[in-house]
Symmetry: C2
């Protein structure tokens, strides 16, 4: 199977990690915002080195080969040669994914009483036309002038400039351990870049490249074309120049429905299905605000990625306060402000959400609340707080349509990758769909205090208006309808004095139309509004489950030293694909009934279990399951047959305790629920000192 060139495009990550970001919805921010101050010691920097839990450099090849070997994932249609960028999850990958989604559902949907919506994967053209995706959900791509390869423009600039900077460092005799993957990167041969290896650059050039990289996401098409031209960026796999200028390419998959060929797309995001159902959700919520909805499912944007997204609808008036913000004000995040990035720097600053909202670095309480909830969710999954940062979008990334947007980025051997977006989409989408369909997607609420409105009102005498103006009737009426308050006030006086007024209606006769008191009445009137109508603003946190899953695997990977190095994946018990490994000491048939009973009992508690009764040593069997991230192990030995005690082993410390079956199962339930830690368990249950047999 031929791999089309697009799939190399932007394909920097080994699992569906083509960038989800789009430059479409970009806005200039309207709020003044505090600039984080940089101390003088903070310098522009490349992506920090990726280290394991034990502080050693991460060997990406080792992680990737483990994940494939144990079938966390594999290339889709592998036996047909695969499809670049498409991956299947095997049993442990599926289980990990299901646990991440279940955690998401509990953390967001249940905890916040969100209303779930499930829409089909296919969205009709008309919807995505209104939302702006048809025209603007695009990336900038550059085409190889000879072989026609299409690459994502910003990614190729990044790749080449980073390679040149590494070459320069080498020439200066500095270490080039970049993002833990130095060996691989050094070896990669970039065509048309013959001189990069070990070529020293001028200091000014180093400075310029670093600054470009820090704000790479901020270049538009013209900017990217200029960079490619000025710095002689070529297709690294062919050495050919690109045809310039770069151009946009839509990221959606087109399909057509049925024989009638109704045009449609695979949905590019789960949000649209929620927007379209806004009125039904509001009704389901008994018309009460605020309101949040959620969707979990796959989206297609030249990658098919599992996503979970939620929309929080908030009243745009009143500063977007959030009634639970005080619960999260002390949550600390690493924040990378847009001003820092524009200054060509990449240092994130630790800050609490309370401070960040107060000083304006985060726009409002509602978005601040969700940023905090995202941070708590990610750490609950087992991601390292030091390897999470929130990067504010820069102007060209965001939108005329977006008000404020930050990405949660996770550190991996590929550098920082965006895994969660958190955007203030304002009233944009609901307004688009209201305009396109004429169905008002609004909230109507009783005003606590009725609103008294006094204003000039112009009423025309319909019965006389028609016969008088005939075919010009509508044109005249339209001008009357659009009169402003000031003009109406002036005209009302004129009408009172002269009994007639003259207005400009360009389409009619000489452009002047006279209206007498018989035809029009303009008076000041007072009315009382009991209902307020508004389009809510939308805060949208959106999660790339596949990216989170892959980053988590890298962040929890480490190797245990011993007679040989053994890989361990330290997933938290609630997230681990399998909770318990059951190992009988030997293949002795006497162990079978006890093992069968334990399996049944653990399954009854909803704990996924794997039995390894192979002939390998106990140490070997545990080690195989450390690779799968199984946090707990039970050994059944001859002692167990006598007194029904069993041992429980902790994956991370390899320490063991021994107790009766019921006590051990109770301990496992608590560890998985998170109501007790291993150190608490090992403090209260008798230690077991029997050696692990290697």
């Amino acid at each position: 199977m031929r791999q089309p060139s697009l799939l190399r495009f932007g394909h920097r990550f080994s699992i569906e990690f083509q960038s989800k970001r789009s430059r479409v919805f970009s806005s200039s921010p309207t709020s003044q915002r505090f600039k984080l101050q940089l101390s003088k010691t903070q310098q522009p920097e490349m992506a920090p080195e990726m280290t394991t839990l034990k502080g050693r450099p991460l060997d990406r090849t080792a992680v990737d080969s483990l994940l494939r070997r144990r079938f966390f994932y594999a290339p889709t249609a592998d036996i047909y040669g695969g499809v670049a960028g498409f991956f299947d999850f095997g049993p442990p990958g599926c289980s990990l994914q299901a646990n991440i989604i279940e955690t998401w559902r509990r953390h967001f949907v249940l905890e916040e009483d969100m209303l779930e919506v499930d829409s089909p994967m296919i969205t009709p053209y008309a919807v995505l036309k209104s939302s702006g995706h048809v025209e603007r959900f695009c990336d900038f791509v550059a085409k190889d002038s000879v072989n026609g390869d299409i690459l994502r423009a910003d990614h190729v600039v990044e790749e080449i400039l980073e390679a040149r900077l590494r070459g320069d460092k080498e020439a200066r005799g500095e270490t080039v351990e970049v993002a833990g993957n130095a060996k691989k990167k050094k070896k990669k041969k970039l065509k048309g870049e013959t001189a990069t290896e070990g070529l020293k650059l001028d200091d000014a050039v180093v400075q310029e490249y670093s600054e470009i990289l820090a704000k790479i996401d901020n270049y538009d098409g013209t900017g990217l074309s200029e960079l490619i031209s000025k710095h002689d960026i070529r297709n690294p796999s062919s050495g050919n120049k690109f045809s310039l200028p770069v151009y946009t390419q839509n990221l959606m998959f087109a399909v057509s429905i049925g024989a009638g060929k109704l045009p449609a797309y695979l949905r590019p995001e789960t949000a649209q299905g929620q927007f379209l159902n806004f009125s039904k959700l509001l009704e389901f919520n008994q018309q009460s605000m605020p309101l949040a909805s959620a969707s979990i499912g796959k989206s297609g944007r030249n990658e098919i990625a599992p996503r979970a997204g939620l929309l929080h609808y908030v009243d745009p008036e009143g500063g977007k306060k959030h009634h639970r913000f005080h619960e999260v004000a002390d949550v600390k995040i690493n924040l990378l402000d847009r001003h820092v990035q524009l200054a060509g720097k990449t240092n994130a600053i630790p800050i609490t959400l309370g401070e960040a909202v107060q000083n304006g670095a985060v726009d409002n309480e509602t978005i601040g609340y969700f940023i905090a909830r995202i941070q708590l969710f990610l750490t609950k999954l087992g991601l390292d707080p030091n390897k999470i940062r929130f990067r504010e979008h820069m102007e060209n990334e965001m939108g005329k349509l977006l008000y404020f947007c930050v990405d949660a980025e996770l550190l991996t051997s590929y550098g920082w990758i965006e895994a969660v977006g958190c955007a203030d989409r304002s009233a944009y989408d609901l307004s688009c769909h209201t305009k396109a369909t004429g169905v008002p997607l609004v909230v109507r609420e009783s005003r606590k205090e009725p609103l008294v409105v006094t204003e000039f009102v112009a009423e025309t005498h319909k019965a006389k208006f028609g016969p008088r103006f005939k075919k010009d009737r509508k044109a005249v009426q339209s001008v009357v309808d659009q009169l402003t308050q000031d003009v109406k006030e002036k005209l009302s006086l004129e009408l009172k004095e002269n009994g007639k007024i003259t207005i400009d209606v360009p389409e009619v006769g000489d452009g002047k139309v006279e209206l007498t008191s018989e035809l029009i009445k303009i008076e000041q009137q007072t009315r009382t509004e009991y209902t307020r109508e508004f389009i809510p603003n939308v805060i949208e946190p959106s999660f790339g489950i596949g990216r989170i899953l892959y980053s988590l695997c890298e962040q929890v990977f480490w190797t245990r030293e011993g007679s040989e190095e053994r890989a361990v994946l330290s997933f938290p018990p609630a997230i681990a694909p399998t909770k318990v490994l059951l190992v009988p000491l030997s293949a002795n048939p006497d162990f079978k009934p006890l093992v069968a009973n334990l399996t049944k009992e653990l399954r009854r508690q909803g704990l996924s279990t794997r039995v390894d009764d192979s002939s390998a040593s106990i140490g070997k069997r545990y080690s195989r399951n450390d690779e799968l991230g199984t946090p707990l192990g039970i050994t059944v030995d001859f002692q167990s047959l006598k007194d029904e005690t069993i041992t429980l082993r902790d994956r991370d410390t390899t320490a063991q305790v021994r107790a009766g079956q019921d006590e051990i199962i109770e301990a496992i339930v608590r560890l998985v629920k998170g109501t007790e830690t291993w150190s608490q368990i090992s403090a209260r249950l008798p230690k077991f000192e029997g050696q692990e047999l290697e």
Copy 2:
């Protein structure tokens, strides 16, 4: 948004119920099978009347309007006019779907240690070309000769003939309550069928129509074209004739991947992703058989439907026994045999799986085991055993490729709809992919006893063979390779006697080729095989979650009589979208802390909860939640403030008990887990006789 005509095609159900069946994989059965005997009283019959749990005729309009009003589902992109056949699930629909899937996962994946696989929604062309989907995953469709409308051929024949039979019954003065939806069907105006209303038919015609309908799934393209022509079947919405013959239309959605436009399709089933990973799954299972895999996700076949499917890989030798068959031998199902259908009848016969396998009505233990597990799964969801039947596929439905196939069908107001397929796909798919890729998808196992094979072997002398035959070399070799044992034995004697043999090679010269002892050696040889290699056969149960969900809603719907009729959805507690409704007696703020604490406690137990503190009466509030199928309700009243007791109400009986908070929560947990029933709870906890306030 214009609705293309295809979306009316076959669109007989109000929620994505376009038939999933395809005629592609059809086979003639190779096994002799017991014919179920029909007693004389069993006559051809139309779909039985759909009744509610309380035995009253089901009013489909009432169910459908309830499900839409309470946002179980709604048309996709409703505000844009909708897309026929596409539906969104709202909060209760999502929750119901999630509970059905969770039950499925526990019942199949966990209980049977299946290996889950998750593949992308998009499958490359090459895979579906090999599997036969590109050429043969089609329905027969008929095109309106005037306006070009495209309708599914079998469905339009069915619709028209059923309408004529109803007209006949009317003319005979019989009741026409067909499938509980008589009113609607009667009103529907079928163009070109002016005479159907009340037109009496000849007895012979009634008999002919009934027989056609009983075997409607067995007609091929020629058969359907003949029916349309002979019985003057026209497009019911235009009255126009169809252009004949009918033709096939592929059911898959075409997409292309990336700029290179790699052709692909939305996957038509979840099975292919599992087949392609067979070797990896076998390795994950430590090379041991039998092995089962599972996938949950959406498939696209001109409908986008949530599906769950599993594959059980079984050794084709040894009669496809199943080691747990004895556990299900007593499970009783309603079986509709193919022979009964071909006789023009539709009566299902109650039979246990033990009997059915023994007498050959079900082909083997493994498929019998899964039929039983499907029956148990469906009844666990709350479907009525009397409204479930298993219909064996007829010859033209199944395949050269399928060995045996039954559908689990569910009775609804639309008649019997197929919700689960259970097919023996034999070694077909694995063989296709092996052939296409050269990657052997086989099981290799050590033979317990080495196999000694004695046979005649013909070896040609390669070095001399080439120069002697030159370009004919391959043709001659190919004939040698295909000699049977008998022929080889005869030739070996000839060769020994004459020093030469003559074989027929039609492509070469005069068709006779002489081979001397110098060129060929034919001798009996003995070798020992220690390994056995085989392609496993695959049993595939495949579940249409959307159809199951809709059928369940109809089957658990009933109305409670009282001052006014009130609708109830009697989902089992484990399946119900929300488990508990919390109603404070009034808006008195004193109730708030107690309600908040209960909510928190119930959530901690993982029980989804809804608070209704509106000003409606308690009776009204309960009634609203009966419509959502909420099985349990807690009332907090002034007594609760004094002694912390609360009442628990059962949806189905409206009976109430009163006890302390902990006891009530414990009872709820047991009811939802299914470890205790309401009658047990109400027997052991004090009854509460306080009147429900209407």
